[in-house]
Amino acid sequence: MAPKPAAAQIERCGEDHLEFETAVREHQGLVYSMAYHFLGNRAVAEELAQDVFLSLYRNFRNIKSGSHLVFWLRKVTSHRCLDYIRGQKHRAHLSLEEVRERPLKHQDPDPFISGHLRRMVTSLPEKARMVVVLRYQEDLTPTEISEILEMPVNSVKSHLRRSLALLREKMSSRLRVEPHE
């Protein structure tokens, strides 16, 4: 009886299987965080991250080095996220105006501001959002981002500049209208 295609593939991969599991455990935070910060939904992010790792398993023999693996994961994750958003009939993220304005004290701890910032990041346009995620989560330079997203460096810089201005304006306006308690 002929073996199942999946079982044959696993058999063929042999020692790659163990390496793949190590790669998953090592880089699951990268993939999951990118998806979560981009999509703003843990369940969808987890599903998308699983999809990325399955894709990695299919292409694991083409990975040449550790840096190549990281580059591949960032690139595939960012493109999967963008494809997911484009495939949605209704935009999953909230607009800036729809972001719930919770009261903010001036001496609020970081977690609150971080949560608010994350919500505002998910309200950015798709490409700008991915640029911001890659810049501030992965700490990549505009040149590295341009290679991953396949866009000109100047576009990356422009996205960054506009996104920062928008976020800064939103934060400052929110602080201005906040009544002092």
Binding site: Q50, S114, G115, Y136
Partner: protein
């Protein structure tokens, strides 16, 4: 780096997935679920994606602009060709009458002589006689042809020069032939006068 960038770094720091994430992935790999060929958008989906209303509008606008540009280029090309067209050949009947003082040399007379016998008393010479003789030669067909001072001037000038040379040659030959005929006729009359004074 300002505060918002620091806040963003803090907000977007990496987060670990649920504890059983890697186990789920390995289970999927081991079971073979989801390991089929990767899904790619079919041709219909690609077509639908590319033919969104905005794209269609832009395509139609681009096509209309291309047609307009093509039309303008074609028109200007045809206009240029019409301007540099070679004028029709000049016949002797179109030439104005010349003064006898502008006689050509003897070579031109003998070269054009045999061709002029047909027009000796024909309508061509009569028409030539009917023209305004005060009109100078360099005004020939000035009313019917406009000299374009633009880019076609050298070619126009060459055509005009050739036609003028041809016209002068034909005219002088005709005049020479007519003069000889008159002289012969005068000689005959002189003899008649000598015989019958």
């Amino acid at each position: 780096m300002n505060s918002i960038e620091e806040d963003l770094k803090q907000a977007l720091r990496r987060q670990e997935p649920p504890a059983d994430f890697a186990g789920k992935v390995m289970d999927l790999v081991n079971s073979g679920a989801g390991l089929g060929p990767e899904k790619r958008p079919g041709p219909n989906k690609v077509l639908v994606f590319r033919l969104r209303p905005k794209v269609v509008v832009w395509l139609a606008t681009a096509a209309a602009a291309a047609c307009l540009v093509g039309l303008v280029i074609t028109r200007s090309y045809v206009g240029d060709r019409g301007r540099v067209e070679v004028p029709p050949p000049v016949s002797g009947s179109d030439l104005p009458h010349q003064d006898a003082a502008q006689q050509p040399n003897a070579d031109q007379q003998t070269a054009a002589g045999p061709n002029l016998g047909r027009n000796e008393s024909g309508p061509g010479l009569q028409r030539m006689g009917g023209r305004d003789e005060r009109q100078p030669a360099h005004h020939w067909r000035a009313g019917s042809r406009r000299v374009n001072a633009g880019t076609d001037l050298p070619m126009e000038a060459r055509h005009a020069e050739e036609q003028l040379r041809l016209a002068l040659a034909i005219t002088s030959a005709k005049l020479g032939y007519a003069q000889r005929s008159i002289q012969e006729a005068d000689g005959t009359n002189t003899m008649d006068r000598e015989v019958n004074p």
